[in-house]
Amino acid sequence: MTAEIVLQSVVSGLMFGGVIALVAVGISLIWGVMDVINFAYGEYLMWAMYLTFFLYAGAGLDPLVSVPVNALVLFAAGVLTYRLVIARVMRGPIFAQLLSTFGLFVLLRYAAWLLFRPDDRQAQSLVSNGVVELRVSTGELVAFVGSVLATTALFWFLTWTKTGKALRAVAQDREAALALGIEPDRLYAIAWGISAAAAGVAGSLVSSFMYVNPLVGDVFLLPGFAAVALGGFGNVYGAFAGGLVIGVVNVTGGTLTMPKVKLALVYLVFLAVLFMRPRGLFGGRRQ
């Protein structure tokens, strides 16, 4: 095991972590703002990947060019999900909320199965087959940069815009925000829109190096959830950091020990963090 291999594994891990981070940010936003876990999040990502694939196969659009299209379409899908489903079950017991996103998960997965068939498809991008020094595929590098940019844009939005500040206010204290005249319903819809748009962007970005099939959401959702918990539930900054940690532990940990145990290592780190900081690395602050 040379230093070069270890360094390579860290770089590989960061690239992988970047994608997980964006997924985690999307999950974390909804949780932070309204205490709802979206089990269907991986399926949004999968539908976004299909959208990317069909734009590529039908209109010849490079997966990278489809990023804004994906973001807009998924934003609309997120708002629609909130208006049609979530707004209604918010009034019900917490079980109703859990079951409704689980129901969405089932619906989206099997609709994809029916419509798109179970085959693996692969879009090709300008950046699909390149490799840059330290052996990072250009597809992954672009996905990593895109993920950092998208997350930065979200941070900026949450920190500096009026709507962003209002979102954080609702997240911190719903009653107080109401008293200040903030309308939570509209903000919830926006939060769902942004969260789904993050899945849209991630879907486009990973499509240049990852196949899509109706089951592909799973391989991103589980590490995504782990990243959310690692970073502190509801903290989008923490979720991003959690994603990167998970990527590096996964690849470097697997390379240094045995690849077979890499997921166990991820959850070991996860447990260790929860043991020392029960609210996650950045827990306690709702951002």
Partner: protein, 422 residues
Amino acid sequence: MRGRVLGLVLAIIGVVALGVFALDAQTPKEVVVGVIIPLTGSAPGTGQDCKVGAEFAADMINGGVKAAAGSALLGAGWNGIPSLGGAKVKLVFADSQASPEVGRAEAERLITTMKPSATMGAWHSGVTVAIAPVIERYRIPHTTVSTATELTQRGFQYLFRVGVNAHQGGEVLFQYLDWVARDGKKWNKLGQLHEDTAAGVNFANAIEEMAKARGITPALRVPYSREQANMDSEILKLKSAGIDVLVQTSYTSDGIIIRKTMRKLDYAPALIFSQGGFDDDPKFYEAMGDDANFGSKRQLWSPALSTSKPILKAINDEFRRRNGRDMNDNSVRYFTNVQVIADAINRARSAEPSAIQKAMVGTDLKAEQVLLVHGVKFDEKHDNVLAKAMVAQVLDRQLKIVFPAEAATAKPVWPIPAWSTR
């Protein structure tokens, strides 16, 4: 009075006798055969190949494939099962979704609702391991091409393996390595990368055992689970250990990620040898393009063998006319599954599962009667004693036989060229 009683008795005897005769004369119009394969899930392209292969064979047995006429193929020139008065073979399909739990439930559903005379499947070794106890419990003769060694080690009476087992499939690797070594080609370390269900684990165990028996110490073994988006650590491990003969067991989705990661991390061993699973799935070629090239796999069929078996070309041409592609290991093996079952039904002269099982034990099909490179004859464990494999390499996105020399259609490319030179 007495006369009337006698008349009544005679009448009853007559009716019963008629009934018996009627029963005897009654032969089934069709024989139901169940096929359990992965039509959705992680290997749908493969399941589709199995399906069209089985359907093609059933059509031949039912008299619908004129191209087979006059050949030695079992079922050529038939018009239904001859000994059952031309009863047609009717295939019913069940989708395993590539999952042991689903496969098991589907096998049970198929057997109880469709009452098949025989079944076959489920392609994935892990699924076949799960359904074997079900078919044994319902006493339905079942043919499989799954390779996991353990399948025939558990004393099942109703399970028959038509294809190679892990040892038979691995044997050809070592013959091939000896052959290339005689040609002056060198290699240093044998390593394995395999998915961690029955197919991967059994094949890796078999390879390890056979390697040690030949004085070769396997250098590294990297098992992995299929549901993941990143395989960097697996490939880095193999690369840093300097593995240059890599034995790989993967299915399609993971096979795609692995090959892409090899490219990214610039890992090109001298030989990649698989038992199929990804590199015989058309979807793998669609996704990988030219990067699919240069991998090798154990192969059980080739239309190029038609110099010794002319029927192979005719059959393959007809298959291509119908399905728009050549037959491959999966369609050929499922074609053969149907032949083996039809042969047993014909010899049993019955659509009863127990009678078919008894007949199947005595199966003795010569190489020219089936499409596989080998014939079919079962030992006491119901492994196919005749099963053997060839080595094919992907060249120009097509599998070409490179070993043994007498069947070869291309010279092997050894070592696999470095990624930077492609």
